[in-house]
Each structure stands twice: as C-alpha cells, then as structure tokens.
C-alpha cells in the first residue's frame, strides 16, 4: 500500500500572482507528492472544501495581497468546524515578520517568507505530514 502525501496548493484572495504557488506546487510534485492545484482567487470556503474532498494531508496557501490576517485564520476556523484539525496548514507570500506570530497563533503552522528555499518547504511538508500520520511517509 502506497499513500502519497496529498497537498492542496491554493491562491486565496484577490491577487492573481500565481507564479510562486506554481513553483512550490512543482517542487512538491518533484518530491513525489500529489499536488492538487486550485488556481487563483479562492475563498477560504473553497480551499477547505477542496481539502476535504481531496483528502489532503496539507494545505498550502499563497497570499500576496495583504489579506493574510483575515484569510488564514478563517481557513483554520473552517477546518476546525469540519474536524480537520489534523490537516497541516502552511502559507507563503509577502507576510511581514510582525504578522507571522499572529498567524502561528491562529493555526498556521509555518509561514514561508520571501527568500525561503524550495528544499526548505519540501522538507518541512514531508516532516510535518509524517509527524501527523505518526508514521514515516514514503516520498
């Protein structure tokens, strides 16, 4: 039995700059994960519903618009309502240092700011998913 890591990569909010999200999606794919890419302009509701239908282990949200302090907590809140606390939520984008702690306090496990390496992101996702599953994961 193989159970690949499934990650939803979403662009939430109103900005349409999806290059970063696509680069991360590609890196996760190249690391052997199955990446469900949603495209741009996703609402928190769409992101969480997608994660439920796709049985995602992790949700990565890219946000460059400045709305992170609203959108991330809302995603976590919806996940909690759906009993999806075991799903990893991480994010990336232009997020000021001061907001990172706030987001951590609202269920965003890790925020990747500009300059983060792809290797860092891949290693983190693999490790955090393995920890949640309680077993080492294949890729």
């Amino acid at each position: 039995m193989k159970r690949p890591i499934r990650v939803v990569v979403a662009k939430a909010g109103l900005d349409g700059h999806d290059r970063g999200a696509k680069v991360v999606a590609r890196a996760l794919r190249d690391a052997g994960m199955e990446v469900i890419y949603t495209g741009v302009h996703q609402t928190p509701e769409q992101v969480v519903e997608t994660a439920a239908q796709e049985d995602a282990d992790a949700v990565g949200v890219s946000l460059l618009s400045g709305a992170h302090n609203f959108i991330f907590p809302r995603i976590r809140e919806l996940m909690t309502e759906r009993g999806m606390d075991d799903v990893l939520l991480f994010g990336g984008g232009i997020i000021p240092e001061d907001d990172v702690a706030f987001l951590r306090g609202h269920g965003v496990e890790r925020v990747f700011q500009p300059g983060s390496s792809l290797e860092e992101i891949v290693t983190y996702v693999r490790g955090a998913v393995a920890e949640r599953r309680g077993t080492p994961v294949a890729p």
Binding site: R6, R29, G32, V35, I36, Y37, E45, Q53
Partner: protein, 314 residues
Amino acid sequence: MTAAAPPSLLERARSGDRRALGRVLSVVENEEPGAAEILRETYAQAGRAVVIGITGPPGGGKSTLVSRLVGAYREDGSRVAVVAVDPSSPFTGGAILGDRVRMQQRALDDGVFIRSMASRGHAGGLSRTTARVVTVLDALGTAVVIVETVGVGQEEVDVVRVADTVVLVMVPGLGDDIQAIKAGVLEIADVLVVNKADRPGADDAARDLAQMLTLGKGRTPWKPPIVRTSATTGEGLQDLVAAIARHRAWAAESGEHDRRRAGAARAEVEAVLREALVRRLADRIGRDRLERVVERVARREVDPYAAVDELLAE
C-alpha cells in the same frame, strides 16, 4: 487518522460527511486496510449512476467541458461527482492535479463532489483503482459520475471499462485525418465532440471525423454523433447532453449497456486477480531472488523467458 474504523467512516460518508467521503475514496485508491470491506459494503448498491467518460488529447478543454456538464446535470437537482485523472511523474511518482482549476466554481455546491486522482503509473488513461472509486461514489447515491481521463494520445482506452457513454473531445488543428485513423480512442467514442468550435479549422475537424466514421464498420450499429461545442461559452452544451442521453437510451435498448457492464466486471475481476497473483508470486519468489535473476538477464547470461521459467520452477 490511520486507525479510523472503515465501517464507521463509510457510515459517515453515507450520511453526507464529505470529509469522510474524501477519506473513504483514499482508502480505496491507496488500497489501505479496509478497502476490501468498503467495496464489499458498497458493491451491491452501485450500478445505478449514469457514468460518463470524457477523454481526449491534452489541452482540448475536457475539464472546462466537464464543469459545464456538471452545471447541466445539476439543473434538476441530481447529485453529481467528478473523478478527474491526471498523470503521475514516471520519475518521482509525484503529480500536479490541475483539473479542479476549471471546476472550482462548482466546489461549494453541496450536490457536487470533485475528486482528483493521479494515474500512479497506470498507462490506460485512468489509474488502477479509478473504477473502484467510481463504484463507491455510485453506491453512495451519486446520480451522475463524470470520469475525466488524463490527456490521451491514441490507445488509452480504459475509460470504456468504467463509463456507460464515452465522449471523445477533439479540437481543431490536431493533424490530418491519418491521425484520426490511427487513434484507438476513436473506436471507443460513443459521442464525438469538436470543442473550441469557434476556432478556425473546426469545420475541417468535424468533416475529417465524419469521414473517418464512414470508413470502417463500427463495433455496433450505433453511429457516434459529432457535436460542436465551445466549453468556454457553453455553446453546443445542450446538444452534447442530448447526444449522451440518446446514446444511453440506445445502449439500454440494444443490450449494449449490459454487455459493457459485463465486460467491465470481467476486466475488474481479472485486474484484481492479476494483482493478487502478482503479490502472491512476488512474496514466494522474494525480492533477492528476483534481483539476482534480473542482474543475470542484464548481463545476458540468461534470456527473460528462461529467467521466468526458473523463477516459477519451484
């Protein structure tokens, strides 16, 4: 999550918990412990859904068309599911499943369930367990299941084993009519779509397809209609829905529907049997012995036939 008891998970899925359904489909897809029980609990109730296969070359607009079809089938309140397959990387096993991008406006409709699947090394245009995932969705009360294959070339024809009606989506400008003659996928099409029909060359594409169909004798008396659509504008969509319904009515009346389902049952049993035999043999032969023989074949000390005889000898 690993210890969730499959029956209760299935019960939750049955009562409309979409996250539980997502997990149930993973258990079946990954063949996790509990997969056989889920199939056992659902198999008898399946077989009622209308299963439509959408296949065709990459970039032909399949996902956009699927999203349109979902909208059309939702009009009367029917529950609709989509199973969309995208290719896995042969090198890393990873995949980018991007069909949802064209369907996300349906994501919040609670009568719609969309599931992406990676092909995971299976070559027929679907993944090995796609038929089983469709069975579960069917059994849990989905009225229409739309199965979108990976972008196909010429012989990825597994979808005919899953769908009652296969729609082949072509686009203008794919090449001359020889391309169409070669295509195995053309032989499994029950309805032919020329999508992006607002583009130049649509007339040529439709004509080439029409001529192709007159060249050979089909497997059945059914003559696949050619429907022109524009998935982005929705033009031709009602014609497509009508063509699918006509095929379904014909298939039911002519016995083709039952024949196809019987063929699908045979294919599924054979596939599961093959998997079981391979697993059993692999256990018996053992990885080390297999590797040693492979090395000798690579050095050309023994040919593959003789190698297999040797492995099976004990």
